[in-house]
Amino acid sequence: MTTECPVCGAQLELIEGTVVGELIECPECGTELEVISLDPPTVKEAPQEEEDWGE
């Protein structure tokens, strides 16, 4: 099962046993992604905690 990272376009493989709602990480851009569907395999960017970089 493969899908595309919505952030960087990398091909992602969803391993057997992956479930909807699971969080995975894109190996190329490191973005945390949430599996929202298995048929078809679809992921979306998981919500992130905003960081304040010294402001």
Partner: protein
């Protein structure tokens, strides 16, 4: 397979020392002679203390040089070109780490370096030394001219964009923040510790010579311009190039990823560093100390066509000795990672 006998001319500087460190542990290299006029007869480790117990080689004068398979020239600029005929008689292959043979147009050389080239007819014999751009030429080359450190970081950062004609040709601004080792090991007033320590010194806001190399390698037959500035900061090794370009079309980051992946997906020493969380989201020079990596990241401005490309290297490695060794590996058909596998330190 017999080992390649390599000698270094001008090995007492920082670049020469870094090359020594690499060549001493390269499985396919027999280190021949290493020269220094200032330290003739002295052990190498008197000048490069990190090499204590690694070798008992001593510096010799360049006048004592014997035949070898390859010469690495780590001389100050405007030195190699004056003695290149002599060096060519000593070795069938040469890698020059100075700026003498980087620019392919003698008129450009004169414009940026302020004097005529001593042997303009030989310039085209040298392959410009960034392996990621000139790998196939290097495999057949006898002479390679290693690229400048600031130029290397800038060119590698921008290459996929210029190659694919994605950016406006005259609006590129590059700001490099550089460590003190870029200045070499010759002392001057500005390098005195009370003066150098803590600085954020704008030392070359315009007309940096590496601009010429960047323009040469990114032109792809078009007239382009880059606006380059360099700032000295309080680190010893490493540099960070922040490049501002303006895209011709308003692309999305995902599209830009595609071009970088296509250019560098199989490159052993280029890593795309662009993460949405964590401390090291973009390239950070300190993580690259002693490595041959060039880390590249980018961020598109949501409110304009500006794309910021950030690239980082160790100036003495990917910006000099490491890059030269990578070129050497290609020249001789070795795995180009040989002797360059060090992944860096963390924390550092």
């Amino acid at each position: 397979m017999s080992k390649v006998k390599a000698s270094i001319v001008g090995a007492s500087g920082y670049t020469g020392g870094e090359l020594l460190r690499l060549l001493l542990f390269h499985p396919n290299v027999e280190l021949g002679q290493v020269t220094s006029e200032s330290y003739t007869g002295k052990f190498i480790h008197k000048v490069h203390p990190n090499l204590r117990k690694s070798t008992l080689l001593k510096f010799v004068s360049a006048n004592e040089l014997e035949q070898c398979d390859i010469l690495f020239l780590c001389l100050p600029h405007n030195s190699s070109q004056k003695r290149i005929d002599e060096f060519k008689k000593l070795a069938p292959r040469i890698i020059d780490l100075s700026a003498d043979f980087r620019l392919k147009d003698p008129a450009e050389y004169e414009k940026w370096y302020g004097h005529k080239h001593a042997c303009p007819n030989l310039i085209t014999e040298f392959v410009y030394g960034i392996p990621e751009l000139h790998r196939d030429e290097m495999k057949k080359a006898n002479y390679i001219s290693s690229a400048g450190c600031n130029a290397t970081a800038s060119i590698l950062g921008l290459y996929p964009l210029y190659k694919n004609d994605l950016v406006q040709e005259d609006r590129t601004v590059i700001e490099v923040k550089a460590g003190s080792s870029e200045g070499g090991n010759k002392i001057n007033e500005g390098s005195h510790h009370p003066e150098r320590s803590g600085v954020v010194r704008s030392y070359m806001p315009t007309q940096h010579r590496h601009s010429a190399e960047i323009i040469q390698e990114l032109s792809f037959g078009k007239k382009i311009n880059v606006h380059f500035s360099a700032t000295a900061i309080d680190i010893v090794r490493g540099l960070l190039a922040t490049c501002h370009v303006f895209l011709k079309d308003n692309m999305q980051e995902k599209d830009i990823w595609k071009f970088y992946r296509e250019a560098y997906g199989n490159e052993p020493f280029i890593r795309i560093v662009k993460e949405s969380e964590g401390i090291y989201r973009y390239p950070e020079p300190k993580l690259l100390s002693g490595t041959n990596y060039c880390d590249i990241g980018f961020k598109k401005d949501e409110f304009s066509n500006r794309l910021v490309v950030i690239s980082a290297i160790d100036n003495l490695m990917k910006g000099a000795a490491g890059q030269a060794l990578q070129a050497f590996n290609l020249m001789y058909g070795f795995d180009e990672r040989t002797g360059l596998e060090f992944p860096g330190l963390h924390p550092i």
